[in-house]
């Protein structure tokens, strides 16, 4: 029987989250996934025998504990292990490490700048304050400034109240934080070049902006506001790779009676009488449903799944203009052993966390200049991890798996991507690592190089943008993805969006899927099965 209450297009983590909450409310839900595997960009795959690559997203910090708790993901096999550190190699042979032990962290900061070690206290307090504020918006549907409905007015009042809890100076400081460039924001605190570069890096990950572009300070939160067991700012790694998250979500979904079909590519959303009626698969099979939810990015959803006549022209224009701007590449590497890093003392815990090679703001900015000219960065910013050091499921004993996220990589270099260009891009990254690890290349068994082309083709992320759309002012809160469409509802009744293109945006967080489920259940007059945010007070 091809008839469902709801069909969710795409088994990304948000699609699965959304589907799980709908199924939990008693709906009959189908998730249709184009690929033969689930997870979308939250996936772990064996592309080299014996190795498991999380070949898209690779760490999680943002995944909401409320969702974890509501869907009982721990019982469905999810374990998120906190990451202990991050570090940046300096060109002069030294390095800067950010350790999880507060005493060690302070002394390492002092080693580079005593003043910065003290300023870090002010920095931590300020960033934590903004985290707490923004975090309370994550599991809420943004109000529509164009609406006069009581619900929106109430939500605006709630937002105002939240802001009103800040002192006047903090309000202004928050606006500054929200609108400043990360480099300039950090310069309000730190003076050491390496420390500045180290803490700036997180803000350009996945975005087509540079460290001196206004608006990037805020992106810091998208990387800092996650939590693992209450440690705000901590990163976590899912045991078994990111696929473990989609696996647990799928398991929860199925436990509520949900159904997942892989290899089922949706080609069109059926619309008649201004109402979504279901979807058509590439096989030609039609599936009818009262509710259709798209986990795809906003541009793809409106330009590829709809008949042009079913979408209002202004919405179609906005979808085409939606700022996606792929800017990242990714390498997944199988290693014969643990590479050595001579700059680090024997036994340093820093190999277990994030590793970076860009030690000045100017190098970061120049990497961005390359991207502006549609070239990959010759001296890219890399976020490298070797999670097999603490996750035995990723590589055979004694062997290792390395993941390298690369910023920047253009959507399309001049003349378009070719395999040869892709490999040249990959070599730039491998060379950079080898500069700091002399035995690295000799340990190399296999490397998968992914440019925006591969990310788009395989995962369906338009232009390979990891956030399904830039996290810039024009595409946040009630503007995400488009003004007037930020409440998860599409242009026809019964059609919804639940991907990272919607509020609160990218990162493996699950919040868009949850918020969309809440709206859907509200429209269907079903019991709300989605969780409320944990109070911070």
């Amino acid at each position: 029987m091809n008839q469902y209450d709801a069909v969710v297009i795409g088994a990304g983590h948000n699609g699965l989250t959304n589907a799980a909450f709908l199924a939990r409310a008693g709906l009959r839900v189908l998730v249709a996934e184009r690929n033969p595997y689930i997870g979308g960009a939250t996936v772990s795959r064996e592309l080299h025998k014996g190795w498991k690559y999380s070949n898209c997203s690779y760490v999680c910090s943002l995944f909401r504990p409320e969702i974890y708790n509501a869907l009982d993901l721990g019982r469905h096999g999810l374990k998120v292990i906190p990451l202990v550190s991050s570090m940046t190699f300096k060109q002069n042979g030294d390095y800067f490490g950010s350790y999880s032990n507060p005493n060690v962290r302070r002394r390492e900061l002092m080693r580079h700048s005593h003043r910065d070690a003290d300023a870090a206290i002010r920095f931590d307090a300020d960033v934590l304050r903004w985290c707490k504020l923004i975090r309370s918006f994550l599991l809420r549907t943004p109000p529509d400034p164009g609406s006069l409905r009581p619900r929106d007015a109430f939500e605006f009042a709630w937002l105002l109240k939240k802001f009103h809890e800040l002192s006047e100076a903090h309000l202004y400081e928050f606006i500054r934080f929200f609108t400043m460039a990360i480099a300039e924001y950090l310069e309000n605190y730190f003076e050491n070049e390496t420390i500045l570069a180290h803490y700036s890096g997180g803000s350009i990950i996945g975005t087509g902006l540079g460290v001196y572009s206004p608006g990037t300070a805020y992106v810091l939160l998208h990387h800092a506001m996650g939590e693992v067991d209450g440690n705000i700012g901590a990163w976590g790694f899912a045991r078994g790779g990111m696929g473990a998250i989609s696996g647990a979500l799928a398991s929860a979904f199925r436990s509520y009676g949900g159904e997942i079909r892989t290899g089922a590519e949706v080609t069109r959303i059926l619309v008649s009488g201004k109402r979504a009626r279901g979807v058509v698969l590439s096989s030609g099979e039609a599936i009818t449903a009262r509710v259709v939810v798209s986990n795809l990015d906003a541009r793809r959803t409106y330009t590829k799944l709809f008949d042009e006549t079913d979408v209002p022209p202004l919405l179609l224009k906005r979808a085409r203009q939606f700022k996606i701007r792929g800017s990242s590449g990714k390498l997944n590497i199988a290693l014969d052993g643990l590479p050595s890093f001579p700059a680090l003392p024997e036994g340093s815990p820093l190999t277990r966390g994030h590793m970076h090679f860009t030690d000045t703001l100017m190098r970061l900015e120049k990497a961005y200049d390359d991207w502006k000219d549609d070239r990959w960065s010759e001296d890219p910013y890399c976020d490298m991890l070797i999670p097999s050091q603490y996750d035995p499921t990723l590589a055979p004993p004694g062997k290792h798996m390395m993941t390298v996220f690369v910023q920047y990589c253009p959507v399309e270099p001049e003349g378009g991507w070719t395999d040869e260009k892709r490999d040249r891009f990959g070599r730039v990254v491998l060379d950079q690592i080898a500069d700091y690890s002399p035995d690295f290349k000799s340990l190399l068994l296999h490397a998968e190089v992914r440019t925006p082309r591969e990310l788009e083709d395989e995962v369906g992320l338009t232009e390979g943008n990891i956030f399904q759309g830039e996290l810039t002012f024009d595409q946040l809160l009630f503007n995400r993805p488009f003004p007037g469409y930020a409440q998860y509802r599409g242009p026809v009744r019964g059609m919804y969006m639940c991907g990272s293109s919607t509020h609160p945006g990218g990162g493996v967080m699950g919040a868009p899927g949850t918020n969309a489920a809440r709206e859907i259940l509200h429209d269907l007059r079903k019991n709300d099965t989605t969780p409320e945010e944990f109070s911070d007070d």
Binding site: N103, H170, P345
Partner: protein
């Protein structure tokens, strides 16, 4: 002092006195203080407490942050930094100071030593280099962190004067409270100030870390004649509450680390109004404090005694039993010398006045069972315990 990158192998640093403490410690009860490993209790809490009140205790103060402030603009800089009039301080004197942010909220307190013209040392509990640098723009002033290079000991108690004399750090009979002078201990120069955090007679010794152990050994060499007792931070907490001293960051949130708006405190609110001089010229926070001073106070950190003997830490204070919550206990101890429960509590004021019938709700455990009870609270204007011998000059020789 340079820091080796291998610091991660040992999360906490050692002070120059650490090995001596290890040798004397029976409890091995350590804690972290400003990235240093220090003793919470060395041997027995009550012994350490009574050493301060009847004999001589020695505590490691090295982790205190110490900043050397010099340069032509040093005095002007400090005057703009703190709430008291620093132009009145003289070489050879020490003063208690407190400093605020622009909003008039307390960042930290500490002691300020003047060694010579435009030569000062500021000691504080919390890390202040960031704030000092921020404050120094526009002043001709040099700020150097001396924390790791200058070791420090607190020698406190009625016999501390005699102990130091016997240890060869003599000629202290004319040193008045808040005086500072330089002496020799053997070949090692040591700066001695008649200051402390115990409310008893006492001295603080400041020395280069290289000569630190000679001074320690000289002091502990007189143990045959005097009872000299190494002390940990737990005993200090008891005596400082008895003396009515506050501790920013523990009794109230410091402005520099406050996350939630309104959780920081002004000097008036923590009972330091006496240390604010609104007449002396501009200092950071003055405008805000002027405005606050013009209005009735809303809350104050207050010394209270609480009836009974139940442990009162973290108790809430109510206006009448089962009435409105009007405050909370921030620091409390059983005073062994007064045999009473004493506490610093933040209490709300109505129209500038305290409630007349305050009761603390005390939750306490007996053999892993929780009980709750009410206890009457009374405010106490003066420090709970100040012995006369604290300020006697010359001090009595034992």
């Amino acid at each position: 002092m340079t820091i080796a990158p291998e610091h991660f192998r040992q999360a906490l640093q050692r002070t120059p006195f650490h090995d001596r403490f290890v040798a004397l410690s029976t409890t091995e009860d350590w804690m972290s203080w400003n990235t240093y490993k220090v003793a919470r209790v060395v041997d027995k809490l009550s012994t350490e407490y009574f050493a301060v009140r009847s004999g001589c205790s020695v505590m490691d103060l090295t982790p205190m942050e110490k900043y050397r402030i010099t340069g032509r603009g040093a005095c002007a800089f400090l005057d703009r930094l703190v709430t008291r009039d620093i132009s009145k301080l003289r070489p050879g004197r020490v003063t208690y100071v407190v400093w605020c942010n622009d909003d008039g909220k307390v960042i930290d307190d500490g002691t300020l030593f003047q060694f010579g013209e435009n030569d000062y040392r500021l000691c504080s509990q919390h890390h202040q280099l960031d704030w000092l640098r921020i404050s120094s723009t526009g002043f001709d002033v040099g700020i150097e962190v001396e924390t790791a290079d200058v070791a420090a000991l607190a020698v406190q108690g009625p016999t501390s004067y005699s102990v130091l004399d016997a240890a060869g750090i003599g000629d202290l009979q004319n040193l008045k409270p808040f005086d500072v002078a330089t002496r020799q201990c053997g070949r090692v120069p040591v700066t001695v100030s008649r200051t402390g955090y115990t409310g008893d007679l006492g001295y603080e010794l400041w020395m280069n870390r290289t000569g630190a152990l000679e001074i320690w050994d000289a002091i502990f060499a007189v143990r045959g004649r005097y009872d000299v007792c190494p002390m940990g931070l737990s005993a200090l907490e008891m005596v400082r509450i008895e003396a009515g001293f506050i501790m920013p960051g523990f009794d109230f949130n410091t402005a520099g680390s406050t996350i939630r708006s309104g959780y920081d405190r002004s000097p008036y609110e923590v009972g330091l109004g006496w240390a604010v001089n609104l007449e002396k010229g501009h200092f950071t926070g003055r405008r805000a404090l002027l405005a606050e001073h013009a209005l009735p106070a809303e809350r104050r950190l207050t010394k209270i005694v609480i009836d009974g003997n139940k442990p009162v830490n973290s108790s809430l204070v109510y206006d009448r039993q089962n009435g409105m919550k009007i405050g909370e206990v921030k620091a409390a101890t059983w005073s062994p010398i007064l045999k009473v429960n004493i506490a610093l509590a933040e209490l709300e004021l109505r129209g500038g006045r305290l409630s007349q019938g305050m009761w603390a709700r005390i939750e306490y455990q007996r053999e892993l069972q929780w009980h709750a009870t009410w206890a009457r609270c009374r405010t106490h204007a003066k420090p709970f315990y100040i012995p006369d011998h604290r300020s006697e000059t010359p001090p009595r020789h034992y």
